[in-house]
């Protein structure tokens, strides 16, 4: 129980946030943070626990988003149906893919996921009559206020974390880890590795698809380059997982917080700090630094990948004992 205390407390705090904080900007950031918690923990199960690194999370994300959008444009039903069906569409795409591609191991599988995303992106672009092509899909958001979206995102994030915790402590969870550690040994112990890898993929696809459907509902606009985006979705998902901690339940939540903050820091020029400093000191160069920084968020991402992999290969949560020892000079064993 003590172990679960901190997450439950955090959940309570997050649930109370909209009562205090009504600012749309911060609510938007929090919604993004919660969405990335969902995607990050899904990626973490397939990559961190099962050891099948996916470079194509955007494929499932896009499936979910397009399910919601296409239901609305073709059948005229509410996009909220997407939240019920988006995850299943992603699974329906993921399972045949997994059945074929799990014969490959390691880097081969990673490349295949990359290819899946590219195929879907080109497909969505070319099938103009069905998906609207590059024009994308635009819907009217259901709520003006961000608070309903916030609670939906919070519910999704909480549910995905709870299910992740349940899965990794169940029997399949241990099978997943055994596949990651040594697939041949797992196979020889009688684990149907192909089946369990597919299960793991189905789980990841489901939650990523749900996050995609949420994105469609919340943002109100998607096009192939937004949702099937390698850098902004697939790589971001990997970063969230790695920065937070691969193979830990709460790692992606931490990673998501760090990554959304970093992304926004670059986008807004350290929350307008440099612009403000420039205005106060009257120095032009600081204003120019601000302008440069706002363009540099992808560069920041790239450098962050390099730095994190070099110095914190197991992420913030995974390397927490190391950080404690180095930064706070505490003994890890205590």
């Amino acid at each position: 129980m003590k172990k679960n205390l901190l997450p439950i407390l955090l959940l309570a705090v997050l649930a109370a946030v909209p009562l205090v904080l009504q600012d749309n900007y911060y609510l938007h950031l929090l919604i993004l943070f919660l969405m990335w918690v969902v995607i990050g923990s899904a990626w973490n199960l397939i990559a961190g626990y099962t050891g099948q690194v996916s470079f194509g999370d955007a494929a499932f994300f896009g499936c979910g988003a397009y399910t919601a959008g296409l239901l609305a444009t073709h059948f005229g039903v509410s996009t909220w149906w997407g939240l019920a069906l988006g995850g299943f569409t992603a699974v329906a795409v993921g399972l045949p893919f997994g059945w074929i591609c799990f014969r490959m191991r390691g880097a081969y599988f990673a490349l295949a996921t990359l290819a899946l995303n590219e195929v879907l992106r080109h497909g969505a672009t070319i099938a103009e009559g069905f998906t609207g092509g590059m024009v994308g899909i635009l819907i009217m958001p259901s709520f003006v206020s961000k608070i309903p979206y916030y609670y939906i995102a919070l519910a999704l994030a909480a549910a995905s974390l709870a299910s992740l915790q349940w899965v990794v402590r169940s029997k399949p969870g241990y099978y997943f880890v055994s596949i990651r550690e040594d697939q041949d040994a797992a196979e020889s112990l009688g684990i149907d590795t192909h089946l369990y890898k597919m299960l793991s993929l189905a789980y990841a696809a489901f939650w990523t698809g749900m996050a995609g459907a949420l994105y469609m509902n919340y943002m109100g606009f998607i096009d192939p380059h937004v949702v099937f985006n390698l850098h902004d979705i697939s790589i971001m998902a990997i970063l969230v997982g790695i920065v937070g901690g691969v193979g830990t339940v709460y790692g992606p939540a931490v990673g998501s917080f760090v990554m959304v903050t970093v992304q926004e820091m670059f986008r807004s020029g350290f929350f307008g700090l440099f612009k403000w400093l420039g205005a106060v000191s009257g120095s032009d160069s600081l204003v120019r630094v601000a302008a440069v920084l706002t363009q540099a968020h992808v560069l920041g991402f790239g450098l962050l990948v390099v730095v994190v992999i070099l110095f914190l290969p197991n992420g913030i949560v995974g390397d927490w004992p190391k950080i404690r020892k180095r930064v706070f000079r505490l003994d890890a064993g205590a």
């Binding site: 050891g51 074929i100 080109h122 497909g123 790589i235 691969v246 790239g302 390099v306 070099l310």
Partner: protein, 290 residues
């Protein structure tokens, strides 16, 4: 028939360049067992080097002599300071090196974007748009020259790998790292050199492509994708396979563009990729055994 022959010629010419891109990738893949997802970005960098030199009046083909050593040094630096330290790190995921190359690729793209903005750049030379005819088939002058140089590099690379001491060490490391270490090969040094060589080869491809293509920072991604399709087609780590893979991809792309439509060009590459993974895992290497 003329259309078919023309498509065939265009595909083979493009395939020569693709082969050069693929060999660099497959070398790195073979020796280190990782996929270099910054490969296209390195090529993009070489194209910008060519562009800068061109504004100073240097012919793109002469900039080969600048871009290749530069990229060799960059590759050596990347391998030595960013990728090799990861081998020792104790992590859950063995794919850390691949992720590192993704990060390197992103950083390279954005650094170039800072310097040159996202605008498309062109290198126009006297021979950029020149063509000559054999019968009814037209050959692009620049692409034909590029094809010739690419083949020369490929053959040189081949002899380097088979005949020289260093080449043998590289192949030994690719076959069995531990055994190579036991035989006295400094595998750490070999990986560094290999990454440098791979970068230099893709730099050559960049210089050759520069006069006939447009140059922009995001060019790297699609070419990385092409490079790994070629590598998978040819079989990971196989030099001969990379040549076949490159030509096959070039042919398939131009056939697809002629007979299906331009918008399917990228999909065809990916379809082949999936088909090869399904029906010929291991690529052409399985057929040729080289």
């Amino acid at each position: 028939m003329d259309v078919f022959l023309q498509t065939l010629v265009a595909g083979v010419l493009k395939g020569g360049l693709y082969a050069l891109i693929g060999i660099g990738m497959t070398l790195i893949m073979g020796v280190m067992g990782i996929i270099n997802l910054a490969h296209g970005q390195l090529m993009m960098l070489a194209m910008y080097v060519t562009f800068v030199l061109n504004t100073m009046g240097v012919d793109p083909y002469f900039s080969l002599f600048v871009a290749m050593p530069l990229l060799f040094l960059l590759g050596v630096g990347l391998q030595k300071f960013l990728l090799n330290p990861l081998i020792k790190a104790d992590t859950i995921l063995p794919e850390n090196q691949v992720l590192m190359t993704v990060g390197i690729g992103m950083a390279l793209t954005e650094i170039v974007r800072f310097g040159f903005t996202s605008d498309y750049k062109y290198i126009t030379t006297t021979y950029s748009n020149e063509t000559f005819f054999l019968g009814k088939i037209s050959f692009s002058m620049a692409l034909t020259i590029a094809f010739g140089i690419a083949i020369a590099f490929t053959v040189a690379m081949f002899f380097f790998l088979i005949k020289t001491d260093l080449g043998r060490s590289i192949r030994a490391t690719a076959q069995d790292k531990d055994a190579a270490t036991l035989m006295g090969v400094n595998t750490g040094r070999i990986t560094v050199i290999t990454f440098g060589l791979g970068s230099a080869l893709v730099a050559a491809a960049g210089c050759l492509l520069a006069p006939v293509y447009y140059i922009f920072p995001d060019l790297g991604g699609p070419f990385t994708a092409k490079a790994f399709i070629i590598t998978i087609l040819g079989g990971l780590g196989s030099t001969v396979g990379a040549i076949f893979g490159g030509v096959t991809l070039g042919l398939a792309e131009s056939m697809g563009a002629t007979y299906f439509g331009m918008e399917y060009e990228d999909i065809i590459g990916l379809t082949i990729f999936v088909l090869v993974l399904l029906f010929l895992p291991g690529g052409f290497k399985r057929l040729t055994k080289v």
